[in-house]
């Protein structure tokens, strides 16, 4: 009975695999630098710096893959919001996640080829990919070339302000990722969405 939709083309899966790999590396090395401690080393500091730099460059490159893919294939259309009905759509989807899901109600926005995301997914993906990510990436690259940063701003070191923005936005990205991974367990079976991201085919409920 389960129908299969080809939702995740190869380039997208490739991007996503790289992205997840790089992001986890960034997360672990980032935390280990920020909370570096003589007594509790997580990753050796210089290795963490190098790892973080490499993964940062990698994730930026793979981001261009994501942008290019979405510019030149139909996948980009999945990221268009219908502003007029946005609020009520979000409410409907929110209500489903908070209540309907427990009584196996039918989701208000079933997955189709034309619209594979529900409104909450769409908004959070846009937020993560087109707002948070650029900020983290730009501040990250600035920190890679600290000479480009203003020495002083508002009485603080410019590097400090840049780093704060980088860390806070990175933190929000991590929160996004945790929620994202959890929400991906909401599928036909808890693992089916992860399989989809590997073979490209979505299994409907």
């Amino acid at each position: 009975m389960s129908e299969k939709l080809y939702l995740y083309p190869l380039w997208l899966r490739l991007w996503h695999g790289l992205n997840a790999l790089f992001f986890l590396t960034l997360l672990v090395t980032g935390i280990s630098m920020q909370y570096s401690d003589i007594d509790f080393p997580l990753v050796r500091f210089d290795l963490a710096v190098t790892g973080h730099n490499i993964a940062g460059i990698g994730i930026t490159l793979s981001y261009f893959m994501f942008i290019t893919g979405n510019l030149f294939t139909s996948n980009g259309r999945q990221y268009r919001i219908n502003i007029r009905s946005l609020f009520s759509d979000l409410l409907a989807q929110g209500r489903y996640y908070l209540f309907g899901i427990f009584s196996k109600q039918i989701p208000p926005f079933p997955v189709t080829l034309k619209s594979k995301f529900n409104p909450l997914q769409r908004v959070s993906y846009i937020g993560a990919m087109y707002v948070l990510f650029p900020i983290v990436a730009i501040t990250g690259w600035a920190l890679l070339f600290p000479e480009t940063i203003a020495r002083q701003a508002f009485g603080y070191s410019g590097t400090l302000l840049t780093a704060l923005l980088h860390i806070v936005m990175g933190f929000f990205m991590s929160i996004f990722m945790i929620v994202h991974v959890y929400m991906c367990t909401v599928g036909k079976t808890p693992l089916s969405n992860f399989k989809s991201m590997i073979n490209g085919y979505h299994e409907a409920h």
Binding site: M33, S36, I38, F45, P146, Y156, I175, Y182
Partner: protein, 320 residues
């Protein structure tokens, strides 16, 4: 309003200049003779044979920058307080080349006025350092403390950025990429270029701008503000964590003798560092730490509750 302020500033500055000038005026007049030649790139003298004026270039190593001289630690001196008065005549008599020079301790040793500097301890540390005259023939305190310009910064409350720039310039006078000519006089062996000996350090330029050489190369001493025991390179700090961590050693070297409360600023643990630098791992904000822990906890909690409900409903469904 702004004009009045500018006027006050201008008058204040003029007054300050006069006051400075008064202290130095006597010396300035006495020194003018020497600086007419040593303070210039081109000096001139009258040829006694035919009365003509001869112009020559002053060799770089014999130049004394008068602006730096009068802002240096020893600005109150006349040239001839340290140099023999016979230098008044030109050409300088030959035997003056062998004039013995004062050492710091000749004036500062055993003097209570300078007790807080611990000159004797500094001297002990220097004798044990890699630059000691025992290992490097002819190396003295003057090699780092340029007699005609050196000043102190850390004790006088100069900003950290300026102090770092000054102190590192002292080392880099000899230890820059290719090494200075002075090294020909002093060195036993050729050192590697700086970028090679520090190739393990990322963002080299930034580090050399934001951290002092002595932080990594000289061991602290309890009673000294500025470490003077420069040790062989193989015992230098190479562990990033010495600086990039909560208990960064930068705090103890920069803020020794300063009150600890100063360190807490707007929730930043190592607050004092902030105006000058952002040191990964050392600059931390308690408030942000707590906020992020709460947010993280709420997220995980929400997910946990949601997951539990899903499990429960699933079971119930299966039973039905």
């Amino acid at each position: 309003m702004k004009k009045v302020l500018n006027l006050i500033l201008f008058l204040g500055f003029t007054f300050w200049c006069f006051a400075q000038d008064h202290v130095n005026s006597e010396n300035r007049i006495a020194n003018r003779h020497c600086l007419d030649c040593h303070g210039q790139r081109v000096y001139s003298f009258v040829n006694p044979d035919d009365g003509s004026t001869v112009r020559k270039l002053m060799p770089v190593d014999f130049r004394v920058d008068s602006a730096l001289f009068y802002t240096g630690a020893h600005h109150i001196f006349k040239c001839v307080d340290c140099h023999v008065p016979e230098y008044d005549s030109f050409p300088h008599p030959n035997q003056l080349r062998f004039e013995p020079m004062y050492a710091c301790l000749d004036c500062h040793g055993g003097d209570d006025t300078y007790a807080k500097y611990h000159f004797e301890t500094i001297d002990e540390q220097f004798q044990k350092s890699v630059h000691s005259p025992e290992t490097l023939n002819g190396f003295t305190c003057w090699n780092c403390h340029d007699p005609h310009s050196f000043r102190i910064n850390q004790r006088t409350g100069e900003s950290i950025a300026n102090t770092i720039a000054y102190d590192n310039a002292v080392c880099m006078k000899c230890h820059f990429e290719t090494g200075s000519e002075v090294m020909l006089l002093l060195a036993n062996e050729k050192l590697k270029p700086m970028s090679v000996s520090h190739d393990w350090l990322p963002n080299q330029e930034l580090h050399f701008r934001q951290v002092r050489c002595i932080e990594c190369h000289a061991a602290m001493h309890d009673s000294l503000l500025v470490a003077h025991l420069v040790s062989p390179a193989d015992s230098a700090v190479k562990q990033c964590k010495e600086c990039h961590s909560r208990n960064t050693m930068l705090l103890s070297s920069w803020y020794r003798f300063q009150n600890i409360e100063n360190r807490n600023k707007n929730g930043f643990v190592n607050g004092v560092l902030l105006n000058e630098a952002y040191v990964i791992g050392a600059s931390r904000n308690e408030i942000l730490n707590i906020l992020s822990l709460i947010l993280f906890g709420l997220t995980l909690g929400g997910i946990l509750v949601h997951a539990l409900f899903r499990l429960k409903m699933n079971k119930r469904k299966r039973h039905e």
